[in-house]
């Protein structure tokens, strides 16, 4: 857990800072005037990636809070928007790209939230395009911050106050207590990344177990929240078929298919710079020794026939349990879509439109513009 708290001198009097300090208790606190020197000292640690998980830096977001998801042109992107609440993660997944993405990787939480809500309000007031899907789980886990910040207590009601935009909270934790009793108006989708227990045990250190995640999902469903699931990263290993088939069954035994807004499938992919980090930090992990080839975006991916087989099996198992559920691929090309799903997204208005439509149906989104909602 957090052992050192650094506070940007410029934000010391923000209310969120007081809250986090109170909740972290005995944690050593250091005021920071020169952010660069803090980054340099963190980068110089023996294991900067590991240390960054125990150091929390409260600061302001100097850029925009709402950003486009960093997709690439070579593969089909879902058109998601990222709400940039903070960076990095306390959990320690072998495959986590954030280990190589930030320099240095450090837990940062942005406390200038009046600007965050101002950007959201501007978006709520805008008229086009009709719908947006926004998530906080791109550069961090959405719910790890709950014990110290309680962010969802303000974020969820804020989204509940409008009917064109959904918030997706994506997590591998069970930090759902703050979601209890909230007026969410079904505009917040609670989502879990799923992997079989053996993958969680070997590759997802510090995360909640599979059953605990599904229990938390069922609880959120009972509280009326729409749900989503991400089988991402899917990992190939000896015996994966049995494990993933079991996982799909467990999922649909835990929650109702009708309450699932979408399920994404994404096979393990990584920037080449991640490999030496995994080799050094997790020498027993076999995860980077699959049949990876450089993809069109420069990331390493499983050789395409392997990905297609993986997706075909997953899609079949999911369809058997939930024929109507929206399944999509995270960053795949038209060939994969065609071979697995039998169509390509542009035949149905594009992936963004497909996901918007599913969100509209499950979350009660309504259009106020001339954009028709395709159903």
């Amino acid at each position: 857990m957090i052992s050192e708290l650094y506070i940007d001198e410029a934000v010391r009097d923000y209310p969120v800072v007081r809250t986090v300090r109170e909740r972290l208790g005995d944690c050593g606190v250091t005021m920071v005037r020169d952010t660069c020197s803090l980054y340099e000292s963190l980068a110089d640690a023996d294991d900067p990636v590991g240390r960054g998980k125990r150091v929390l830096f409260l600061t302001r977001n100097r850029g925009t809070f709402l950003r486009k998801c960093p997709g690439t042109r070579s593969y089909i992107c879902c058109g998601y928007q990222v709400l940039h609440i903070g960076t990095y993660c306390t959990m320690d997944c072998t495959y986590c790209i954030l280990q190589a993405y930030f320099h240095p990787p450090v837990l940062q939480y942005f406390v200038n939230q009046e600007e965050l809500f101002k950007e959201l309000d501007d978006l709520f007031d805008s008229k086009t395009p009709p719908f947006h899907r926004i998530g906080t789980g791109e550069f961090t886990d959405s719910l790890i911050w709950e014990p110290w910040t309680g962010l969802s207590k303000t974020l969820v009601p804020h989204f509940a106050s409008q009917d064109r935009i959904v918030l997706e909270l994506k997590t591998k934790t069970c930090e759902i207590e703050n979601l209890r009793g909230m007026s969410h108006n079904r505009k917040t989708i609670v989502a879990w990344s799923l992997n079989p227990p053996s993958v969680i045990q070997n590759e997802e250190r510090g995360t909640a177990g599979m059953k605990a995640r599904l229990r938390a999902a069922a609880q959120c469903e009972a509280w009326g929240y729409p749900l989503a699931f991400h089988f991402d990263p899917l990992i190939l290993y000896s015996g994966w078929e049995k494990d993933y088939e079991r996982l799909v069954k467990d999922l649909f035994n835990a929650v109702s298919a009708e309450n699932i807004v979408w399920i994404s499938l994404g096979s393990f992919r990584f920037m080449p710079s991640l490999k030496p980090i995994v080799q050094k930090r997790f020498p027993r992990s076999k995860i980077v020794y699959g049949e990876f080839i450089p993809g069109l975006d420069g990331k390493m991916r499983y050789f395409k026939p392997l990905r297609i087989e993986l997706y075909q099996r997953m899609a079949t198992w999911i369809r058997e349990m939930a024929p109507g559920v929206m399944i999509y691929f995270c960053m795949e090309d038209e060939e994969v879509w065609q071979r697995v799903m039998g169509f390509v997204p542009k035949e149905r208005g594009g992936l963004s439109r497909m996901l918007d439509t599913s969100a509209a149906g499950h979350c009660g989104l309504v259009t106020h513009s001339s954009f028709p909602v395709r159903t």
Partner: protein, 320 residues
């Protein structure tokens, strides 16, 4: 450090040449030096430091002393250090003496780093790189300093180019036993640095994935068959070993490549048409290259292309 010397004639039997505290070189090669000293005498006396037990340790000049010993000298003129010097200071003196007339080789640099680090904590990278003569770069420093962990036979192999520095640096992350397995295997070939590294990486990754030791992989039936073949020369063996390891490391990709080549062969393209698959079959375009010299050629190519479009092998090739 200001070193003061006293030139003395010292009995060679009193010089402890088994004390390697200040020795940087892996081997003491006296071949040329013996002839030189025999011809013109000892021009530059070695530097020694007196021990408590009236013996001397060598600071600079192991080769010179050894050569004189081989020539049957009983005594040698030596520069004896006067004063109280730390081991670190004497090490620096030994390094500077060596560097005054030549560059240190990579193993001497590695030994220099090891010896200095043992005596003085917090040696900066800049200080070490300037003293020992390697680029001031953290990655290079780590690679060089790790070489010292390798068995001496591999260190020698680095010096005589049996194994490249970069490939040897890769072996440093293995146990000495596994490093020796690789070294014994690689020394039979004359492979480039990249090919040596490729073999190490492939074997290492197959080993991790399949829970096997490098020895198990390098002595597998397929590799042994290549190595024992009388019909293949060393270059051919090297290529076949790499191909065999790649097939094992990337079996599905290898099968797809084989199928592509099979279908390509079935197309029976003439020498004017060439088809190249997209990289790793990931989704980029296939490339068709065509050559012609005249309109007649071009008409012939068009007919060939029309036939190609209708050929079932072409369809199969595109469905890979």
């Amino acid at each position: 450090m200001n070193a003061y010397y006293e030139d003395k004639v010292v009995p060679i039997s009193k010089i402890d040449i088994t004390d390697h505290t200040f020795r940087l070189s892996l081997h003491i090669d006296t071949a040329n030096l013996v002839d030189s000293i025999q011809a013109v005498g000892l021009i530059n006396p070695p530097v020694v430091t007196a021990n408590d037990n009236s013996t001397f340790s060598v600071v600079c000049g192991f080769r010179r002393i050894k050569a004189c010993q081989l020539l049957g000298w009983q005594e040698i003129k030596a520069r004896t250090l006067a004063g109280d010097f730390s081991e670190a200071e004497l090490l620096k003196l030994a390094i500077l003496d060596n560097r005054s007339h030549r560059s240190l080789n990579i193993i001497e640099q590695a030994r220099g780093i090891q010896k200095l680090s043992a005596h003085t904590a917090g040696n900066s990278l800049e200080m070490l790189s300037s003293l020992l003569g390697f680029p001031s770069n953290q990655k290079v420093f780590h690679k060089i300093s790790a070489l010292i962990r390798l068995p001496e036979v591999i260190q020698t192999g680095v010096l005589d180019n049996t194994i490249s520095f970069e490939a040897a640096a890769d072996l440093c992350r293995l146990s000495p036993e596994d490093a020796l397995v690789f070294y014994d295997f690689l020394k039979g070939f004359k492979l480039s640095q990249n090919k040596q590294k490729e073999i190490i990486t492939l074997v290492e990754e197959i080993g991790i994935r399949e829970d096997l030791r490098p020895l198990d992989i390098l002595e597998s039936k397929e590799i042994k068959a290549i190595m024992d073949s009388y019909r293949l020369n060393q270059n051919e063996k090297g290529s076949m070993v790499r191909a065999c390891l790649k097939r094992r490391r990337f079996p599905t990709l290898a099968k797809a490549q084989e199928r592509f080549l099979r279908e390509l062969k079935a197309l029976k393209l003439d020498e004017h048409l060439h088809i190249t698959a997209p990289a790793y079959f990931e989704g980029g375009p296939y490339t068709l290259r065509m050559t012609f010299k005249s309109l007649k050629d071009l008409r012939d190519r068009r007919r060939s292309l029309d036939a190609l479009v209708k050929d079932p092998a072409m369809k199969r090739l595109l469905e890979l």
